[in-house]
C-alpha cells in the first residue's frame, strides 16, 4: 500500500501520467484527492465519464479500512476541494 505522498508523485511521473481536466475524465483515469496542504489524501479510479449537468465522474476507491466504494467524485469522506485527474500515456 502506498501512503507516502512523495511515492504517489513518483509513480505519476515515472509512469508518464499527464493531468487532465475533470470534464475530460475517462474510465481508467486516476483521481487524486489532495489535502489543503497539497498531500495526497485519497485516490481512486474513474469508472464513468462525467455525467451531464454536474460534470461529475464516478469513482471506484477504497475507503481506508472500510469497503471499496463506487461513488460520485464529490461523495466521499475526503477533502474534495482539490481533486486532480491523471491519465497514463503508456
Amino acid at each position: 500500500m502506498v501512503y507516502d505522498p512523495n511515492e504517489v508523485w513518483k509513480i505519476i511521473k515515472d509512469d508518464n501520467y499527464v493531468q487532465v481536466e475533470q470534464i475530460q475524465a475517462l474510465p481508467g483515469d486516476v483521481a487524486l484527492y489532495l489535502s489543503v496542504e497539497g498531500d495526497v489524501e485519497h485516490s481512486g479510479i474513474v469508472i464513468s465519464e462525467p455525467e451531464p449537468h454536474f460534470y461529475l465522474p464516478k469513482i471506484w476507491s477504497k475507503w481506508g479500512k472500510y469497503y471499496e466504494a463506487i461513488h460520485y467524485v464529490n461523495d466521499c469522506p475526503y477533502e474534495k476541494s482539490n481533486i486532480k485527474y491523471y491519465r497514463t500515456m503508456g
Partner: protein, 145 residues
C-alpha cells in the same frame, strides 16, 4: 488518575470514522489534531497525564476499534502540547508496534514540531530623531536529540 470518560461516545464515534477512512498517516494527523474533542483533551490535561493515559491504553489488552481510537486521540493530543515536554516520549513512541503507522506518525509529529518557531519582538525601544531598527530576535527551537 482515572481515565474513564476521556471522550464522549459521540466524539469517539466521530474519531472512529477518521480511523476507519484513513488511507494515510497524514490524514490521521490532520483530522485528529483539528478535532475539537482532541483539542479539548490537550487543553484539559497536562502532558504527563496524557502520556500516562496513552501508555495505560496502548499496553492494555488487544486494541479494539474503541481503544485504538482513544489511543490515537491521546497521542495526537500529546502532539498538540509543548514539544519540549513531549519530546522524550515522542522519540520513543515508535516502540508501540501495535499502533498502525506509528513510525510514520512519529516522523510527522516530530517534523512538524521541529518546524515550530518562536519570534521575540522587542517593542520597548525608545523613539529618537534618528530612526533605529527594531530589535527582532528569532529563536528556532532546535531538537536536542
Amino acid at each position: 488518575m482515572k481515565m474513564n470518560n476521556l471522550l464522549r461516545d459521540k466524539d469517539i464515534d466521530n474519531l472512529k470514522e477518521v480511523v476507519v477512512f484513513a488511507n494515510t498517516p497524514s490524514y490521521l494527523y490532520k483530522n485528529f489534531r483539528r478535532n475539537p474533542a482532541v483539542i479539548g483533551l490537550a487543553e484539559k490535561y497536562r502532558t504527563e497525564e496524557l502520556i500516562e493515559f496513552f501508555e495505560r491504553l496502548v499496553q492494555s489488552e488487544k486494541l479494539n476499534m474503541e481503544t485504538l481510537t482513544k489511543t490515537y486521540a491521546l497521542l495526537f493530543a500529546i502532539s498538540l502540547k509543548d514539544y519540549a515536554e513531549s519530546r522524550r516520549f515522542l522519540n520513543g513512541v515508535d516502540r508501540y508496534k501495535n499502533l498502525e503507522w506509528i513510525k510514520e506518525i512519529q516522523e510527522i509529529i516530530i517534523d512538524n514540531a521541529r518546524a515550530t518557531t518562536i519570534k521575540h519582538i522587542d517593542l520597548n525601544h525608545k523613539t529618537s530623531a534618528v530612526p533605529m531598527p527594531r530589535k527582532v530576535e528569532l529563536r528556532i527551537i532546535q531538537d536536542a536529540r
